[in-house]
């Protein structure tokens, strides 16, 4: 009994502590956020969190502003995962790891990369990209 209560309390505090990584600012066409087993239609104003996946349809695009002012947008027919997002607003230390499994991605790096050049990585099926303060685009074609 005591143990199960502790589990409940812990999961509540963990949920409360899971700070939002960013917020969806742009949506067009069909796009979803996959959070665990839940699939939510992407909407402007929706927060995104570490471990979320952004999945777009053939006409779907999603733009996200992250806590450190990184800007990312996911193009049509894409799958993009936020693997890890940590950002300290006082020190600007942080870690931003993400994966583009397929489709297209545009990135404008933010404050954490200015603080530490090794803070941000984007993975694709065959590569790891280290981001040193720049704008760039990535495409993963599955055919």
């Amino acid at each position: 009994m005591r143990a199960s209560l502790a589990v409940v309390l812990f999961s509540i505090s963990a949920a409360a502590l899971a700070a939002d990584a960013g917020e969806i600012k742009v949506v067009s066409g069909a796009a979803h956020i996959e959070r665990g087993s839940v699939r939510l239609p992407a909407r402007v104003g929706m927060p995104v969190q570490e471990a979320d996946r952004v999945v777009t349809g053939v006409d779907g695009n999603v733009g996200i502003t992250f806590a450190d002012n990184s800007l990312l947008s996911i193009g049509p027919s894409s799958t993009f995962a936020i693997d890890r997002y940590v950002f300290d607003t006082t020190t600007h230390a942080g870690k931003f790891d993400s994966t583009l499994s397929k489709g297209t991605l545009a990135v404008v790096s933010g404050k954490m990369v200015k603080q530490s050049p090794d803070a941000m990585h984007v993975r694709t099926p065959s590569a790891i990209m280290g981001v040193r303060g720049t704008d760039f685009v990535v495409r993963v074609s599955d055919h």
């Binding site: 590569a127 720049t134 685009v137 990535v138 074609s141």
Partner: protein
């Protein structure tokens, strides 16, 4: 001539539709070009020129044109959120009252908020180098909270405002330690 045109079109089709992975560095809004390091197994490629492009399976870097980038990435690029707008506010020394110029700046903050679809605000306090760094962390956080209450007062919902205190880590005007510099005692607002 016609053969050349066809050859160029075929080459373009290969670059824009080839299976595999493509990474291209773009010039940023202010023209600055940064660096992306692409690691594939043991191979590392460094992209640091505008439109420099890494293609999977090709050891040599190539270069896309702006038109090729637009045709491949138009959807994603169009969906990039607007760059955060930055405003600086200053206090009359020794008070928590904004200077006259800064009161006018608040109107610009409101205009920037109205121009965005789902605006949120980050309020960031900064100090000069007078005093010890830990005290300046607290002071900068307090300044940010003060400005947050101004913003709530002019109608911005509290849940759309976050605050941060950077202490003396990000001096607008670089100075030695313990230097009284009014331009460093500021609060920065990011509208996103």
């Amino acid at each position: 001539m016609a053969v050349l045109v066809v050859a160029v079109m075929v080459a373009l089709a290969i670059i824009t539709a080839a299976p595999g992975e493509t990474v291209t560095v773009l010039p940023s809004a202010d023209g600055h070009v940064g660096t992306v390091v692409v690691q594939r197994g043991e191979t590392q490629q460094v992209l640091h020129e505008a439109y420099a492009t890494s293609l999977s399976g090709q050891p040599e870097l190539t270069r896309l044109s702006a038109e090729q980038v637009q045709s491949t990435y138009g959807g994603a690029l169009h969906a990039l959120p607007a760059r955060p707008a930055t405003f600086l506010l200053y206090f009359i020394t020794g008070t928590d009252e904004l200077t006259e110029e800064s009161k006018l700046e608040l109107d610009k903050v409101l205009a920037a908020l109205r121009a965005r679809p789902s605006p949120d605000v980050l309020v960031i306090g900064h100090t000069d180098t007078v005093g010890d760094p830990e005290a300046n962390d607290r002071l900068s956080a307090q300044r940010a909270e003060t400005v947050k209450s101004f913003l709530i007062g002019i109608g911005i919902p509290a849940e759309r405002i976050r605050t941060a205190g950077r202490g003396e880590r990000e001096l607008l005007v670089p100075t030695a330690a313990n230097f009284d510099e009014p331009r460093n005692r500021r609060v920065e607002i990011n509208v996103r």
